[in-house]
């Protein structure tokens, strides 16, 4: 996550764990607030689109979800690359924590894309470059996660899935380009998800707000997942419990 924090300083799980714990509430609050404002803007302030009617309001979740899915994949690959380069376990944990959220946004982007496509183009699915790349992206997220779960040795699982994540980052732009090329050949429907330049300013603001909201949500979720992963992986003494709690447990015994 590009939160502007120098992670190198927090390269040990022991330092990252409490830091993440302190950050999560803030990001959660900001995410909820932005989502509230974004939804209000999207449903009550933004005008009706004169071409598409009300169905366009799906873009307030569709576009942010699609952006997040791509962005998170890149961030995951960066963490994977750092992990491979510096042999840093926390980076692998970050990569592991990002994958499920990224996959979820990819799924949402596909689903809302279909919901938007049916009334707009009359078809649930169109083989255009964006949707196809999004679909392949979902496969790649699945590949990263499946590769990890099929390998028992944690170190190898970390590193192998990191290699695959990095290979995938090269693949997605190539796919995007190739499908676009393919569409020109087949004279396919030239469709575009964006509503173009005619977009009202309020629509754009609502979309940006929702994107920011999803971004903050992702940070909060990923940080709390990375805490779970650390707690599961490390057999280190109690960072989690306050000394009082430990004493209580001991007394209860």
């Amino acid at each position: 996550m590009s939160t502007g924090i120098n992670w190198a300083k927090y390269s040990s799980p022991q330092a990252l764990y409490p830091l993440a714990g302190r950050l999560i509430p803030w990001f959660s609050v900001v995410a909820v607030a932005l989502m509230g404002v974004g939804l209000y803007m999207g449903f009550f302030v933004a005008p009706t689109d004169f071409q598409q009617g009300e169905s366009y309001r799906i873009i307030f979740v569709h576009v942010p979800a699609a952006w997040m899915s791509m962005f998170l994949y890149v961030v995951m690959a960066i963490w994977a690359g750092i992990g491979l380069g510096l042999n840093a376990r926390p980076s692998f944990m970050m990569a592991q924590a990002i994958a499920p959220t990224g996959a979820m946004f990819t799924f949402l982007a596909l689903l809302t894309g279909a919901m938007w496509g049916k009334p707009t183009w009359g078809a649930w699915w169109v083989w255009d470059a964006r949707l196809t790349s999004e679909l392949i992206l979902l496969f790649q997220y699945a590949g990263v996660m499946l590769l990890r779960t099929s390998i028992d040795d944690v170190r190898r699982a970390d590193r192998s899935s990191a290699v695959f994540a990095l290979v995938g980052v090269v693949n997605v732009p190539i796919i995007y380009f190739s499908v676009q090329w393919w569409n020109t050949l087949h004279q396919g429907a030239s469709v575009s998800m964006s509503t173009g330049s005619k977009m009202a300013a309020t629509m754009l603001i609502a979309m940006l707000l929702m994107t920011l909201a999803f971004w903050m949500y992702s940070i909060a979720i990923i940080l709390s997942r990375v805490r779970c992963i650390m707690a599961e992986r490390e057999s280190l003494p109690a960072w989690e419990e306050k000394p009082v709690t430990i004493q209580k447990i001991a007394e209860a015994r």
Partner: protein, 206 residues
């Protein structure tokens, strides 16, 4: 000279050893002994650069082997727990392709001489390796030692499934290597019949 500096190794959740420092001088052999699962093979694989240590470093002539990379690979002959023998190839083909791969191309005569030196007779040289016994396969793998010109030998349980006579032959070969100023690291659970001034024992407790 081969040095291990404050090595530590972890496999999965288990810490096998930590803070291990050891030095192997030219002309001597390091025998790693210990119980099953004590990390003998892991240590040998760290020496071979196959396995990066969790912490610490292995130095060859004072330089980190992780930095030396292929330069270091060019200094060693590694015979692992697995023989590296293809069942569909004959012992002769196996030996020659293994040497060619390692960059130490040898002629057919040399390869035959090596196989004979370790007690594999001519007729066996041209049989598919899948019909050989475990001990014979092990000897095909070890025949590389008669062709190797590398200073450092890393051997993982070389005497497994060898009879007494073959064990003696391999030990002799090892001794000759040390006398020429070579180094060796050996994982074994048997006694090695070498002069004590050439032998250093390292016991891993796990």
């Amino acid at each position: 000279m081969l040095q291990a500096v404050r090595l530590s190794c972890r496999r999965g959740e288990r810490r096998l050893f930590s803070d291990l420092t050891v030095k192997v001088e030219p002309g001597t052999l390091l025998a790693i002994v210990g119980e099953n699962g004590s990390g003998k093979t892991s240590l040998l694989r760290i020496f071979s650069s196959l396995l990066p240590p969790e912490d610490g470093a292995v130095l060859w002539e004072g330089e980190d082997i992780q930095q030396l990379k292929e330069l270091y690979s060019g200094q060693l002959t590694y015979i692992g727990h697995l023989n590296g023998i293809k069942d569909d190839l004959t012992p002769l083909e196996n030996l020659m392709s293994a040497m060619a791969l390692a960059g130490e191309v040898c002629s057919q005569t040399e390869a035959q001489a090596a196989l004979e030196a370790i007690g594999l007779k001519r007729p066996i040289h041209r049989l598919p390796s899948k019909v050989l016994s475990q001990g014979q396969k092990r000897r095909v793998a070890l025949a590389r030692l008669w062709l190797s010109t590398r200073p450092l030998w890393l051997l993982d349980e070389p005497f497994t499934s060898l009879d007494v006579a073959s064990t003696g032959i391999v030990t002799e070969r090892l001794h000759a290597h040390l006398q020429r100023g070579g180094l060796g690291v050996l994982v074994t659970h048997q006694e090695v019949d070498l002069p004590t001034d050439r032998l250093q024992r390292l016991r891993l407790t796990g």
